[in-house]
Subunit: 364 residues, 2 copies
């Protein structure tokens, strides 16, 4: 008998009411989902707080995820890690390709691990999302450091904007700190505003340089020297030593152009040879001196507060702009106003008033 | 009989309805105001477009007014002037105090007047609103130029923000152009972002410098050299000549650090002695060369379009920020969020979400 056959015979029955399930499936699914989810997340959190690097990796992957269903989990994860975070020293390191950044970070990281620290290396590289390359992506780099149990190396997060990459990196810092890493190194290359972003999320900003006439002007021009707490002339070995010493003098001259820093710290220029493992120890001693000084004068915590406020404000401002200019009506009227501007029929201020009035009418 | 006496006697009357005035006073006032206003405004506009400097002065005073009742008038004024505007060459001139800026502008202005131009000199000086001084306020300055019938000199607008000062200056440019001034000089000192503002409202940006070792680094640091279309080493006379020639070489070296400009213009360094009226003519020839080149390659009008877009966007962004952060509820919650941030109980991104959610709830 098919279901299509009409029940018109003597033995036909009226279709009865289906007995409701004794179990509410919605509730059951939620319970199932939470049983499935909660242990996973708590597993990650437990592993992470015990210093398990695989858990830390999974945690970072979770916060880097752009999937909607991961966002709540990521939020819970951050919330669980926050009380354990903020206790590290965060060091930003920048320098153009070829300056020997990875060799330097490897030697520097090994020194710190040998001194008993747990070292995490993260990267901010806004170019990687375009070129699909990554400054820490090359697996053959930092081989000695990567095998240390107390070192954690993570290639740069990808993202469609520097703001997005910076947010993920800042959240990764929190996770690394909760996992017990007490020194976080953030590596970047001089692309766009990435150095400013890294400077705004670290306690100490180190600029790696090569000896080379005229190079100091580039750094001044781009505002990098102004941000540096120390400049290290790398590859100061062999025949380079003389040029490196000359560069040191030049950079010290450049550093004197700037007014005293709020940190009361006077930036210094040092020489190093990462290849020969020379001068690395002195750099760490300088950073320790900086930490002691700025913790004593309270600048250390003050700077972190300022950084928090900076990222809060930046996030809001970017969203306000995005929300305004992405309204279809505004987009259309903006084109009209730009046309009127090009024809000298209005002023930028008058055009702005028109657009702003449209948006406020919409929401009122 | 006082009004307080009760009308209880036999002769008392019920209070009647007051006969309405046969004239609507609101309408009458409006008509009166418009009778009073319209001739005044049209008088200003007529005077201004005939090139009357007193009318131009009154017009600028009107657009500079912060009084609400002047804003509509100012708007009408700008609208009337716009079709006559945009036909001048706008030259930005900057340099530290002591560089000889006013002597230079006086000689330069006189040269242009003698060549048949009508020259207006405006100033952007955000410091004047704080110090109550003004870079063009000194009446004894530019005496020779001020007495020329084809020259108009106006001290800087005051305002509580650089944005406000910049807007007033840009509107004053329109008025000067409508009054037939074909060369507009905008003077500024290197305070805060004033040079960037002036660069964003002029066609040609001239940097005045003195001979002096190390000075070029300051300009590079602050991004001024990058903006310059020409650098003029002033006071290149007497014993200074040797140092000035050396400075010229240094600045040319600095200029070569920068990539080619979108204008396809290669910035040049020149020498001048405003005091001895030497080198001024060469500077104007250079500016003419720039104008011819950029008009030929269409950059001249393209740059003005970009500037309009810049000011439009800036105005909107500033207003969005101001409107958001000035909400009392947001102000209060911002304090809470900053406290939570300082206590490491939240992240800047989470705090931003909370604040943004508050604001969007309010308007929905």
């Amino acid at each position: 008998m098919t279901s299509k056959k009409k029940n018109t015979g003597a033995l036909s029955e009226k279709k009865g009411v289906i007995q409701p399930d004794s179990l509410n499936q919605n509730v059951a699914n939620k319970v199932k989902a939470s049983r499935k989810k909660t242990p996973q997340l708590s597993e990650i959190i437990n592993g992470l707080t015990e210093g398990n690097k695989a858990s830390l990796s999974r945690a970072i992957t979770l916060i880097e995820s752009t999937a909607i269903q991961h966002q709540n989990k990521a939020k819970q994860l951050i919330e669980a890690c926050l009380p354990l975070a903020n206790k590290s020293v965060r060091i930003g390191i920048t320098g153009v390709p070829g300056v020997g950044k990875s060799t330097f970070i490897e030697q520097f990281g090994k020194l710190l691990v040998d001194r008993g620290s747990k070292v995490a290396v993260l990267a901010v590289d806004p170019s990687s999302s375009i070129s699909k390359g990554s400054i820490l992506g090359d697996k053959t780099r930092m081989e000695a450091l990567v095998n240390e149990s107390n070192a954690f190396i993570r290639p740069s997060a990808s993202g469609d904007s520097l703001g997005g990459v910076a947010r993920k990196t800042r959240e990764a810092i929190i996770l690394c700190e909760a996992a017990g890493f007490d020194i976080i190194i953030i590596e970047t290359v001089g692309v766009g505003q990435s150095e400013t972003a890294v400077h705004s999320m670290t306690d100490f900003f180190l600029l790696l340089k090569l000896a080379g006439a005229g190079d100091e002007l580039q750094g001044i021009k781009r505002g990098i020297i102004e941000m540096a707490d120390a400049i290290v002339i790398n590859k100061a070995d062999g025949e380079n030593i003389k040029a490196a010493k000359l560069a040191k003098t030049e950079f010290n001259r450049a550093l004197h152009l700037y007014p005293a820093k709020e940190s009361q710290w006077t930036p210094k220029t040092l020489l190093s040879s990462a290849l020969k493992n020379e001068g690395i120890n002195e750099i760490w001693e300088l950073i320790e001196e900086y930490i002691n000084k700025t913790k004593a004068n309270n600048y250390f915590s003050e700077k972190r507060k300022q950084q928090n406020k900076f990222w809060l404000t930046q996030t809001i401002e970017n969203r306000l702009k995005h929300d305004f200019f992405s309204q279809p009506a505004i987009k259309k009227e903006l084109e009209n106003q730009l046309r009127a501007l090009d024809a000298n029929e209005t002023t930028p201020f008058e055009a702005a008033e028109t657009l702003l009035a449209m948006s406020s009418n919409r929401t009122n």
